[in-house]
Amino acid sequence: MGNNLGISNTDDEEPSSNGTTRRDFLAQITYAGAGLTLVPLLAGTKDILPQAPPPNAETATINLTVNGQKHALNIDERTTLLDALRENLQMTGTKKGCDHGQCGACTVLINGRRVNSCLTFAAMCQGKEIITIEGLAKGDRLHPMQEAFIKHDAFQCGYCTPGQICSAVGLVNEGHVHNDADIHELMSGNICRCGAYQNIVDAIKEVQNIA
């Protein structure tokens, strides 16, 4: 159910008269629904729910700007940006693959540059602009890279796709691509276990206007 939270975009959201955004409303009904239906099922499995930091942890209150929205979080300082997004902000579009910087599934853009969110402490991201897969579309209008991935069927299972798309957006911003070989080399930080690589290259070429 948490995935419902990831699909709205914040840029075009107007708060309603009582100050509630669509995202807040979705969050409320999602939690309400979860409260009614899931808690009895999850009794005894509390380790899969968000937890308070353990008693020996150092905690901090931090401010993160994600997809244009500011969030204040009280977190264990060990929390990576990836875990803060997924576990604290319930933005599960960014995926956890290897959690060691080897697969690229967790790729997000910080100040316009693609990075591995699994190797970044959330507390070191304050004051930076973080863009995740949820923040690329403008309202109902997909980002050109998202459109191109759909057009070229550039995914199969889809698990690596948010990271592939964020990485591809960063790649285009960096401006070092001139041919297919450049794309192969400069997308090597994103692994696709389904092997959709050729279609990913085609999608990027379309956005880059490479024949």
Binding site: R78, G104, R113, L119, T120, M124, E174
Partner: protein
């Protein structure tokens, strides 16, 4: 991961002053340190986030040197016009390392302190003298295909993983550091240590000292340089063997040369022997082969990595051919 305290000083003196206690580490890009913390290989009690310090610039100095701030990201250095034009060996080395995401995060200072990827260092269920001094080396009699053939000891055969450092070794870079007692400059060949009997000590950086910059001294012919990396897959992989070379060739003769090897040594491996073999020789394949023989003269193979000796020779010959031609 063990809990730690994270502080964010925005002044260099404060950062250095807060780093003197035992078990305190600086953190910049975090690409290596956070990974090692997740695996409980590194367990700092306090991290000093240095990303607010003013160590982010690349400057051409009046004496012809280039001074690179310790917090310059690997990707920014690799694509900097001065580096691309005058030090292609360094640009190519940086771009052959890691992935674009990691290069956007990793800093020059952090790259100097990168830890080995020896699988026994990473797997805490195995003895490793680098991780737990005195526990033994699992690689010497274990699976050691990726381990070193140069600079090994009876205590450790771990390969130094950095590409950037191989280029900097060839260029004779100078590491600028600052501690509570003042500033000092460390010549690149004195920065990294051989494992010898104490593989847990990897550099001559003292505890509490901060790397502030790396200086590239002027070399007339550094624009004629190249980094060649050979690995198991085409991209995003550590070197099996690599070569950083710069050559000054005039009328078919080699007047000056710089050579360093990666993927085969326990530290970034400048080969003065290969350079001596090249200077004064004709710029031809036989000279390059002679240099390669000299570079690998002291190599010691282990059960699974004898292939690296010939691979490193061929890598060096090909890199030299690329720069020096075949006159």
């Amino acid at each position: 991961m063990e809990p730690f305290k994270l502080i964010h000083p925005n002044d260099q003196h404060a950062a250095i002053a807060s780093s003197g206690a035992a078990n305190v580490k600086f953190i910049a890009g975090g690409t290596n340190l956070i990974d090692l913390m997740k695996l409980d290989i590194e367990k700092p009690a306090q991290l000093v986030d240095i990303n607010s310090l003013k160590l982010q610039t690349i400057e051409a100095l009046p004496n012809g040197s280039v001074r690179i701030g310790a917090l310059v990201k690997n990707s920014d250095l690799a694509y900097h016009p001065v580096i691309v034009k005058n030090y292609p060996v360094l640009s190519e080395a940086l771009l052959s390392g890691a992935s674009p995401q990691l290069r956007n995060m990793a800093t020059v200072g952090g790259n100097l302190l990168q830890r080995t990827r020896c699988p026994y260092f990473y797997d805490t269920s195995f003895p490793c003298n680098k991780r737990v001094p005195g526990s033994g080396c699992s690689a010497i009699n274990g699976y050691n295909r990726n381990n070193a053939v140069l600079g090994t000891s009876t205590q450790c055969i771990a390969t130094h993983p950095s590409d950037m450092c191989v280029a900097m070794a060839a260029l004779g870079a100078i590491v600028h550091v600052e501690g509570l007692t003042g500033k000092r400059q460390i010549p690149f060949h004195e920065f990294h240590l051989l494992p010898e009997q104490t593989p847990q000590y990897e550099t001559t950086l003292k505890h509490g000292e901060l790397i502030t910059a790396v200086e590239l001294p002027p070399i007339r012919y550094s624009a004629k340089s190249h980094y060649l990396k050979v690995r198991d897959r085409h991209s995003y992989e550590f070197a099996l063997a690599s070569a950083a070379v710069a050559l000054n060739v005039s009328n078919g003769r080699i007047e000056a040369a710089r050579v360093a090897l990666g993927g085969v040594g326990t530290k970034p491996w400048r080969s003065v022997e290969a350079e001596k073999a090249l200077v004064g020789a004709a710029a031809d394949e036989q000279s390059y082969r002679n240099a390669a023989e000299a570079a690998l003269n002291g190599a010691k193979p282990f059960k699974d990595n004898a292939f690296k000796i010939e691979l490193a020779k061929r890598t060096l010959v090909r890199a030299l051919k690329t720069v020096g031609g075949m006159s």
